[in-house]
Symmetry: C3
């Protein structure tokens, strides 16, 4: 069961070139493409004639032509041409989904089209701002429910274990987290003061000694997480709002459901340091990919085990507070949608 | 649900050599083999002792010996020997299926054995006639219901799209099809007059200019299609019955159900031109195989999409008329069989 | 449905080194490991926090640490540490299984822990006795119910067919089997007198002529089979209890259920001849492995066919008597356990 009246990240903009992209989203096969006019479009991936996937056809202008018998559909899903005949039978249409391109991504709305307000797209302004340097990662196929990705990102204590040789170390565990709830999401904050930087950040930042490190994760219903990470030489007063040197970036994430047991994790890093460094670009492209792929393995194993131990009880620990809060907000939104309401998903 | 009282093509004759051939037909695992006497036989692929597939055993004379404990079965399915004991318990038998070898193929009857009349085998006389040159293609595993293959063959308008670079072009779409119904099947005819030959035929026929082309597809319940194709230089009066030069062949097809979601497409081409040309043999073996494999991919995708979009409505278009007519005949025959009747499957 | 109050072979001792071994036993994912103190331990393979498999974590001393958030479990299944907090919530425990290491194997008890009496482990004393030379085979993944392995081992007539080129020949089929039943198992005996040795034994034993051969299989509920094989030059009076020369070994087997459709076959050979021969070691390691892998293929095919032909009748033959007797004992034990009793599984 997924929240329908929400934007979801369907594809990165660069994924839509001349070809057709087939992707199952919220259990529905969708074909995504970019028309001759450069605008993205998303249609049900099914010809209304004999159910051939339209993604096996071809683009013609701004339209799609089925590869089996040549029916042509416009971006609104209307069949506008049937070879060998002059009329198009009534009902010759398929579903079209509202899409909008923003922050280098294509967002899809799979609920009621009239409610598809572009202002509800998450605000990832760093992705387009000249002072920030974005590096987009590969689309990660996750063999688990999308909320497991939310949990993963809202509880960075896992970095001490899964990523202990790269972006995590044990230092953070000495410091408490703070959880703030707002109407459509939750914010987790942890400051780790006067401690060594984790190995990978040590490499990047070339710190002389200990650092003050912040992790601020803002996650909104249903599946968007902004992981704001930074660190500077300790003692510079960073917690009070001054950043001098060090490193800072936003890791943005969207966990788009594919099925109840799988999702796509879209992620990117936009950094506010060494913006022109190809070497740092490469670290974000290569080393962070390795980090994220460790989570792919872990979440897949977790989902599989949850399926085997179907009703086994689970305990909660301190660091689960933000994730549990987000789960409650999602459950509330789903219940509201089931009652016919459209929950407000804009950040307060 | 499959029609039981019908012949089905189980294997090409050349597939039955010294070995045993395991093939699931109409949801039933069958072992096919050729006895020492050269006669084909078909048994349930299950030893009546501990259920080992007999196809994992070996042929001994005209019989089959189970590879696990050595029980021997004759072509009628009777166990005639049990190692280490002198008696064979009552009930030591498995199902045997009537088979007949004709037109280079082995046909199996999986309904009531008494009704297995060899005269009901489809008449593919071109396959054995000295004036026609047959080339048999590989057995194609189709990940779709066998009626999707019927549809595919009865609606050659698909060749304009899937096979537009080989055996199809857009010219045919300007001409109407004619549908004839008879008691056990349907015939689709299309004449494409004074138009370019499709690319592959252009290569084979070396036509100087436009051609008159005929496509005559005769499909009978449940799964047999004779695709009769020909073309000659335009203006020679072919439609009135005169063929001078050009090319002509029958492409025979049997789509034998494996399961409700899969079938085997057996196909061959028997041609009435360039009978002695090894080069043309090679074109039929290689280029037409590529064409048919494009359909394998398409039908598999179609079936998968139909399963996902389970109850999505479909529209019909003009060229569907023959396929829909055959589907109605199949449904009628199935209903008759469910009532205990044996529908007449001989061509009128 | 499996008998719970029994030992099962969970792993060979050599499989537990520094790493963690994940293995599903009786439908339950288990993690096996050897503590720093050298003692084996078996836990439910699931962290009680967020269900991550503990087998993806690491050993720390005698304990296991989850790889996701660092929770630590002791060998009794109690969570004893949660990073970042000082208390452990009540209920923070997972299942621990009694294990005992004996005969080079680790045995697990998945029923009521209080009933886990080490004296009930099958007596495979040859595996540790200096006069016998053991060679342990690889763990065989069987795609079939574990009772099919019991059947396979209790009916060695199959060696005449599946293994006719190695450890079997047709000679045995001329001789009857004897079946003895005891409280917790069954014993099958066959003496093949004055006949050629099967090919592989001929190689090993370099017999001058015919041999007297014994096959004595003792199988106990639920899944343990001792296959005692020997042969000597014919006429030496072996059947009366005298062995001079020739060869003799015990092939011990445990078929541990993984699921209702799969099991692990653990097997080893302990021989009482050529104990110091590396060449004979190699024959047991290599050639017998080939033999056993033939059964893996056969049993997998048998199970698959049984699933397809779900309710097809089966006949029994003479050599099935021991296997059927063991099946009845297992059924009786299962029924007793379902009534809340603990059937006696010690050999009388």
């Amino acid at each position: 069961m997924f929240l329908r009246n929400s934007w979801y990240l369907a594809a990165w903009g660069h994924e839509l070139g001349d070809g057709l992209l087939a992707r199952t989203l919220l259990n529905e096969p969708v074909v995504l493409y970019r028309g001759e006019d450069g605008r993205p479009a998303a249609l049900e991936d099914r010809c209304c004639h004999r159910s051939m996937p339209l993604s096996m056809g071809r683009r013609t202008g701004n339209n799609l032509q089925c590869g089996y018998h040549g029916l042509v559909f416009d971006p609104a899903g209307q069949c506008i041409q049937i070879p060998g005949q002059t009329t198009v039978p009534p009902g010759s249409r398929i579903r079209s989904y509202p899409v909008v391109e923003r922050w280098k991504a294509v967002w899809i709305w799979m609920g009621e089209p009239a409610k598809a307000d572009p202002a509800l797209v998450p605000d990832w302004w760093w992705m387009d701002h000249p002072a920030w340097r974005p590096v987009i990662g590969p689309v990660l196929p996750i063999a688990g429910h999308y909320e497991l990705v939310n949990d993963n990102l809202l509880d960075l204590s896992h970095t001490s274990y899964i990523h202990g040789d790269t972006i995590g170390n044990l230092a953070q565990l000495e410091f408490p987290i703070r959880t703030e709830r707002f109407e459509t999401g939750v914010c987790m904050t942890r400051w780790t003061i006067d401690r060594p930087a984790p190995p990978l950040y040590q490499d990047i930042g070339k710190f002389r000694g200990n650092v003050d490190r912040w992790q601020i994760v803002t996650s909104t219903v249903p599946c968007f997480s902004d992981v704001h990470i930074g660190m500077v030489d300790t003692g510079l007063g960073q917690e009070e709002g001054v950043r001098r040197g060090g490193l800072e970036f936003h890791n943005v994430n969207a966990a788009t459901p594919e099925t109840e047991r799988s999702c796509f994790q879209f992620y990117a890093h936009a950094r506010h340091f060494a913006q022109a460094s190809a070497e740092v670009d490469e670290i974000y492209a290569r080393d962070f990919q390795r980090v994220f792929r460790q989570d792919v393995v872990a979440i897949g194993a977790q989902q599989k085990n949850m399926d085997v131990f179907r009703n086994a009880p689970q305990i909660d620990i301190n660091v689960d507070a933000p994730g549990l809060a987000l789960r409650r907000l999602i459950a509330t939104a789903l219940a509201a949608e089931a009652r016919g309401e459209t929950p407000l998903l804009r950040r307060a």
